[in-house]
């Protein structure tokens, strides 16, 4: 099938491109070529708008997935550019020279996932969490329940229900 991203396959043979629905495409590329691909998309293909930059923690594969969502305002196409980086000592090249707001996204990823972006402005400065000394909290191995139990204490007289049991009782009382 011909897609508006066919010429990407020619320029970046390592890129894996597939279609989700009309106007939404996925692209996966090795870490080393990501900044080159994103720069090409912005400068040549007209993907001028960086919508989102975020990470997904695939702890079972020991990988972080970085997703850059770019938008072409003329052709009305979104593309999700993805790359995988190892979870141990994760480092990625910065793209703050392409979009100003990327520095904010990278600062948040540094804080929440521990992914370093050397050279990104203020990347080591706390963004949301001040005085945090635990592991980066958005990683899958950070136990929110344990943290809450250690940090806070329940109000006396408060009734707590296990959500699953409670929903079962209320919504599906006949289920075994």
């Amino acid at each position: 099938m011909n897609t508006p991203l066919d010429n990407i396959r020619t320029v970046f043979p390592n890129a894996d491109v597939w279609t989700q629905r009309q106007g939404l495409y996925h692209m996966s590329i090795p870490k080393e070529q990501l900044v080159a691909l994103v720069t090409h998309l912005k400068e040549v293909e007209g993907y001028l708008h960086l919508v989102q930059l975020t990470a997904v923690d695939w702890i079972e594969k020991n990988l972080f997935q970085l997703t850059y969502i770019l938008n072409n305002p003329i052709k009305k196409i979104d593309v999700m550019v993805k790359t995988f980086i190892p979870r141990d000592n994760p480092t990625m090249e910065t793209i703050h020279h392409l979009w100003e707001q990327a520095a904010t996204y990278q600062r948040e990823l540094r804080e929440m996932f521990g992914i370093n972006f050397p050279g990104s402005p203020r990347v080591d400065k706390p963004f949301i969490l001040e005085g945090w000394d635990d592991i980066p909290p958005y990683r899958r191995d950070f136990d929110t329940k344990k943290y809450a139990e250690e940090t806070y204490f329940p109000r006396p007289g408060r009734e707590t229900n296990d959500p699953k049991e409670y929903m079962k009782k209320k919504l599906y009382p006949d289920e075994i």
């Binding site: 904010t104 949301i128 289920e175």
Partner: protein, 397 residues
């Protein structure tokens, strides 16, 4: 004095400190030349729980840094530990004054991954809810913009009007602020009896008040003098800083997601994106005022065209064991501040793998505001900030 003299930019910068190689100034607080001032988090001129760390020379801003984190509740992390249906009452709490866009983006993302087609009536009811949310959010914003420039009475009028819209929300959904109405699969109910009549009364009241607000605020000499030519956003910055919504439209970029990437029932409604051209605080305010009146018109169109009965929710599986097929998706909608988007990743289990929220304030309040605020007067900071219409909760989620 002639008009052009009033707004003349002083070109002689010899009184000001030189910039270093990074384009910033070297601040030496011990020289007693500069003052550091925290504008917020407890300040009436700040939009919610955030603060600006300002460096002043006299009363002119030399440097600014946005600080957030006063309202971090970790929603994205919370949702990873909850079943899909348990995320539904959480998402609306991400953006306090406009929860419905969160509900819509989350529900639409889940439906796309699970392959659910929602009934027609539900699509109309969702469109109605989103427009009502837009209306009440703009009414709240008008009060903030007027109040930040010293016109307290406008805020009292507009908040009265907003309360009337909240009354309609209460009738429709049972909640005033958080509605929890747009559920994955459809909506939670049909219109109550006599809703259209009461909605029409509310819209008429809002239109009457908007005439007064137009006179008192938009034709006010003080408001004009303080806002025309102030807080200019260069159209070149639009994609460089990720500016969306009314802030971009006031700069002449006709990007309205309702028109550009039509969703729900917007293709069946008759409207054109509201665009301005001067890109200053006044134009942004005017774009939002006209967008508010457009919402009033759209609500009338929706109520005239929509079916009043029929199915409003597609059948969904047992929510306790609801597994969403593995995949990822991206859903966007146009909220009052710009592009509101959800990135949802499912690994095929009963829990979301990752949900990431893209709030428009994320780009407006940090990178853009820090650039725009340089060389403005301290007294204009509140007005400038409100003109970007930022909500801190969607920055820190």
């Amino acid at each position: 004095m002639k008009f052009k003299d009033i707004f003349k930019i002083k070109e002689d910068r010899s009184l000001y400190p030189p910039l270093n190689s990074e384009g910033k100034i070297d601040v030496d607080l011990s020289s007693h030349k500069y003052v550091k001032l925290w504008h917020g988090p407890q300040h009436p001129g700040i939009t919610g729980n955030m603060s600006l760390e300002l460096t002043l020379l006299g009363d002119e801003i030399m440097d600014c840094e946005t600080h957030v984190g006063y309202l971090h509740r970790g929603f994205e992390k919370l949702m990873e530990r909850r079943k899909w249906i348990q995320c539904f009452p959480i998402v609306c709490r991400i953006t306090v004054p406009e929860p419905d866009y969160n509900e819509y983006c989350f529900a639409a993302g889940v439906e796309e991954l699970a392959g659910i087609e929602i009934p027609e009536t539900a699509k109309w009811l969702r469109t109605l809810t989103l427009e009502m949310a837009r209306l009440q959010s703009y009414l709240m914003w008008i009060g903030g913009q007027a109040g930040s420039l010293g016109m307290g009475i406008v805020g009292q009028w507009s908040n009265y009007c907003r309360d009337l819209v909240l009354d309609r929300f209460e009738e429709l959904t049972g909640g005033r602020i958080y509605h929890m109405y747009i559920i994955p699969g459809g909506v939670r109910g049909l219109l109550p009896d006599g809703f259209e009549k009461r909605m029409e009364e509310t819209l008429k009241t809002i239109e009457e008040f908007m005439v007064d607000i137009d006179k008192v605020m938009f034709n006010n000499a003080v408001f004009k003098k303080r806002t025309v030519g102030m807080g200019y956003i260069d159209p070149k910055w639009i994609y460089q800083f990720g500016i969306t919504g009314p802030n971009a439209r006031a700069a002449g970029i006709p990007d309205d997601i309702r028109k550009k990437y039509p969703y729900l029932k917007y293709p069946e409604l008759d409207f054109e994106p509201i665009v301005g051209k001067d890109s200053d605080i006044y134009t942004r305010a005017d774009v939002r005022r006209r967008d508010l009146l457009l919402s009033v018109d759209l609500i009338r169109q929706i109520l005239a065209k929509m079916p009043k009965d029929g199915d409003f929710k597609a059948p969904t599986p047992n929510v306790l064991h609801w597994q969403i097929p593995a995949g990822e998706t991206f859903i966007r909608s146009e909220c009052t501040r710009g592009e509101f988007a959800y990135y949802i990743v499912s690994d095929g289990s009963e829990y979301p793998r990752r949900i990431n929220v893209r709030g428009p304030s994320y780009t407006h309040a940090v990178a853009l505001l820090e650039k725009m605020i340089i060389n403005t007067n301290l007294a204009d900071v509140a007005g400038l900030m409100t003109s970007l219409h930022t909500y801190p909760p969607e920055i820190e989620r």
